[in-house]
Symmetry: C2
Subunit: 243 residues, 2 copies
DNA sequence: CGTCGATTTGAACATAATCAAGGTTGGTGG
DNA sequence: CCACCAACCTTGATTATGTTCAAATCGACG
């Protein structure tokens, strides 16, 4: 890990308000920084961790994006998450001390390493951090609920619409445009995530464009009719979850 | 809450080894009991909490079973969980301080009330409890991954097979037969959970019986060919997660 | 400019949804 | 004890939706 000497500081991190430091006092952030000194660069297509790897760190995404994938006994795979900057990876490994999924960078990315044992000790001393960890766990659970909702809905167009709304709101939360963004993942990953085939996803992009809800050009997406898309998705465009 | 005076003790609870006390010393359990004194009875069809209710307690199921359901903006519902004895309900409410789903008893049930604020304070003092809470959060996340896997798989028979295997292993963990059990939920709930219709689920039960993988009579299920069913489910029957 | 992977599009097919009856089961009251 | 009712479950016929297989096109990159 030749890049581990790179100095990292939460204080001047561009995604700190979305990450663990959110809501912490400057003094607490100073203490947090003592366990988050190391970062790691992961190139597009490389894995951050593999299924079965021992659990030692959580990873906070500084830049780039990842997909997490679980592998069934029969070798079948399922994309379970698309993770964006400020989001945490690896929480689901705690109980087994082993990562149940693998995380692969969708583009060149940078992550902070959070040694969990040290984080645990610090959380014991800093009440606000403890609560922040609970919050992140809980938010993760709630987000999974949303995905379940999405996959439970039968129609394919509803699923894609919901994913676009979801990604849009997450980009907007990062401070980027909520109407124009570049999807970092290929159609096959979107399809796998939504429980569809790549062909169907491609057709849906075409259809949504024909219906003047979005504009697509490869992985570049522009949401033209947010209200219409939200109605299709069934999740009346929720941008209020930002704060 | 007229039943709140009923004395409850973790020490002699039949599901303690599946619940929060798992792995705690007797001394720690004694302390835990001080915050878990109250229990509540919920009749079949009644709700334990509703979506939007303020978060104040976690609920540990002592007996019976529940479904948790999220309601989309368009009124559409999605069953997200079937919860059995020893399992905890309400964890996903932490971040918003509000329950994002409702929990309804599938049969007459009994739960322990765990006031989260008190639990949090105690966890701060008892390291083992703190870790147990992390573990439960993390297990919950991992379980959600399994469900995603399940919904992502295209074929309906695979989904039902996977659910049966999952429920079977959970019953076995409780000490009950893993080959014979009574499903406490109606077909419509199974269908909603699996992203199918009740008719399809009914046909699938018939088909799995015709193929000699199971025997069904209403809600009573017997798994005849566990290996065959596991192969269909794709999750090579995992009973090793018990300990 | 050529190559390879990713994407789009088309046509035939499969799977599960929908619509529509029947058939069970358990609880209630005569 | 039996009749009745209301949920719940099963089964069949038809239809809709998404998959599969196949081929053409696009686009990044050497």
């Amino acid at each position: 890990m030749m890049d581990s000497s790179v100095a990292v500081s939460c204080s001047n991190c561009s995604v700190r308000r979305l990450c663990l430091p959110a809501g912490l006092s400057q003094a607490d952030i100073d203490r947090l920084e003592q366990v988050t000194r190391r970062k790691k660069l992961v190139k597009a297509g490389e894995t951050l961790y593999r299924a079965g790897d021992p659990f030692s760190n959580l990873y906070a995404i500084r830049s780039g994006s990842f997909k997490t994938v679980v592998i069934a006994a029969d070798g079948d795979t399922q994309v379970t998450h698309f993770a964006l900057p400020g989001e945490l990876l690896g929480l689901d490994a705690y109980s087994d001390r082993v990562h149940p999924s693998y995380a692969e960078a969708l583009e060149d990315s940078s992550v902070c390493l959070l040694p969990f044992t040290q984080l645990e000790i610090l959380a014991h001393q800093v009440q606000a951090l403890q609560q922040q960890i609970y919050t992140i766990f809980s938010e993760e659970l709630r987000q999974e609920n949303d995905i379940l909702m999405l996959l439970g809905k039968r129609s394919a167009d509803t699923r894609l619409a919901a994913l676009l709304i979801n990604i849009s709101s997450r980009y907007s939360r990062r401070g980027y445009s909520h109407s124009k963004f570049i999807l970092s993942m290929p159609r096959t990953d979107i399809a796998n995530y939504l429980g569809l085939t790549a062909e169907t996803v491609s057709r849906l992009f075409s259809r949504l464009q024909r219906e003047k809800l979005i504009k697509v050009s490869g992985r570049a997406v522009e949401i033209v009719d947010l209200v219409g898309l939200s109605e299709l998705a069934g999740t009346h465009c929720s941008y209020e979850e930002s704060h």
